[in-house]
Each structure stands twice: as C-alpha cells, then as structure tokens.
Amino acid sequence: MLVLTRKAGESLVIDGQITVSVLGVDGERIRLGIQAPPHILVLRQELVKEVQVENCRAARKQPIAMNGIVLSPLAPAGVQASKAGSVAS
C-alpha cells in the first residue's frame, strides 16, 4: 500500500483523472472530496462489505420448502432496519 501524508487543503491525483482532496479534519473525521469521471464508482467500503457478506448468507446450498415462506408487503424501505429494536407504540 502506498502511504502518503496530506494536510487539509492538499490533494492527490490518481491516474491523471481522479483527484482526492482533504477538505478538512475534525477530530477522528476526515472530509474528503473526490473528483472523478462519471464512470468511476466511488463507494464506502463498509457498504460493499455488507453486500458481500449478505451474498454469502443468501446463497443456499440446499433447497428449501417453498411453502414455508411467508412474504408480507411491508413498511417503507428506509425506516425499518435502523429501528430494529423499537416496539410499535
């Protein structure tokens, strides 16, 4: 791994087309600005990891009794998971 030290306001250029700038540092948090051509996908790594882990969990080795599956149309997509612990009032 290439390791570089940068200060706020400094940047680096990758392959002549991607610019990563350190916009600011606030305690543990570093604000980065990324300029890249539209075909370059920039993702937070933990999201990629989550999808990867879920792919492995979802891949079935054995068939399942289809009649045991009960699907229910549910609440809006953004709400549910983050409130997993709360009980409906």
């Binding site: 990891k49 990867q52 079935r60 009960v70 549910l74 997509a77 983050s82």
Partner: protein, 158 residues
C-alpha cells in the same frame, strides 16, 4: 441451430416458467466467480424467482421483485450501469433483491442495499450498491415457517 424438443412438462408450463440464462460478467459482489446463472419462476411461490449459479451448484439464490414488497423502493442506476447493461435510452432493467432465509429464527430478509439489475432482452446483469440510500442489506420481508413434523427433534430418553 435447432432448439431441443420440449418435454410434456415444458409444454404445459407457461413460457415464463422456463429457465432463463442470465450472465453477470463481473460476478456477484465478493463472489466474482459466480457469473453464469439460470433464472426461473418458482411455481409454488409466484413472487419468488430462483437464481441458480451454473458455476457453483451449491450457490442458489431466492429472488423477489422488491417493488412487490416495498412500494416506495427506488433503484438508482448510473450512466455507467446503463452502459454496462447495454440498456437503450428508455429501457429499464428487471430488478431483483436476494432473499436470506434464516431458518432458525424463522425470518426472511431482503437485500435492498445490493439489488440485481438484469437486462430483460439480453440477460446481462450487474449487482448494484445503493450507496446514496439507507437501505439495509437485511430488510425483514417475511417469515419462514418450518414444517411441524421435524425429523431432527430428539427424544429425551424414557
């Protein structure tokens, strides 16, 4: 090239129930060797499709059309995704989410964070990451009810 003669069962089933070849040239995320698949509608559960990996017989996915379960679900396709999937200007892909069945907890979740987009014409697919949302990879969408007769139950002596 001649197509094979359909069997009695194939002739009886509707066209939609026939397996459809689907290719993910990049593989699935984190599982890059899983590239070639067969997709078929599960006759017992019309809301579920089965995606069987041809590269690994032990990798089989249950898929749902998320819009059937979560009416406000939105998928964001980038220009690069559209190009990769070779979609026409007004062409929309089929979108599926994988289901994870947790048999012990009797829970079924859908991966809304990493949906699968498939070109309906060509069967070309790509797994997306919906990074600009707070969609969960484990969004609960149902229950799994194990059959009452469980062969695994042990008797406690006597």
């Amino acid at each position: 090239m001649h197509s094979s003669i359909p069997t009695v069962m194939e002739r009886r089933s509707s066209r939609a129930n026939r397996p459809r070849r689907v290719d993910f040239p990049e593989g699935l995320i984190g599982c890059e060797s899983w590239r070639s698949f067969e997709l078929r509608v599960e006759p017992e559960q019309p809301m579920i499709s089965v995606l069987q990996c041809l590269d690994d017989p032990e990798a089989c996915f249950l898929l749902v059309d998320p819009f059937n379960l979560i009416p406000d679900y939105r998928v964001r396709l980038t220009a690069s995704d559209r190009e990769f999937l070779r979609l026409g200007d007004v062409e929309e892909p089929a979108v599926f989410c994988t289901l994870t069945v947790n048999e012990d907890e009797g829970m079924i979740t859908a991966n809304l964070l990493g949906p699968l987009a498939i070109n309906k014409r060509t069967g070309l697919g790509r797994q997306l990451v919906q990074s600009a949302t707070d969609y969960s990879a484990r969004h609960r969408v149902g229950s799994y009810v194990r059959e009452v007769q469980d062969a695994g139950s042990d008797a406690q002596g006597g």
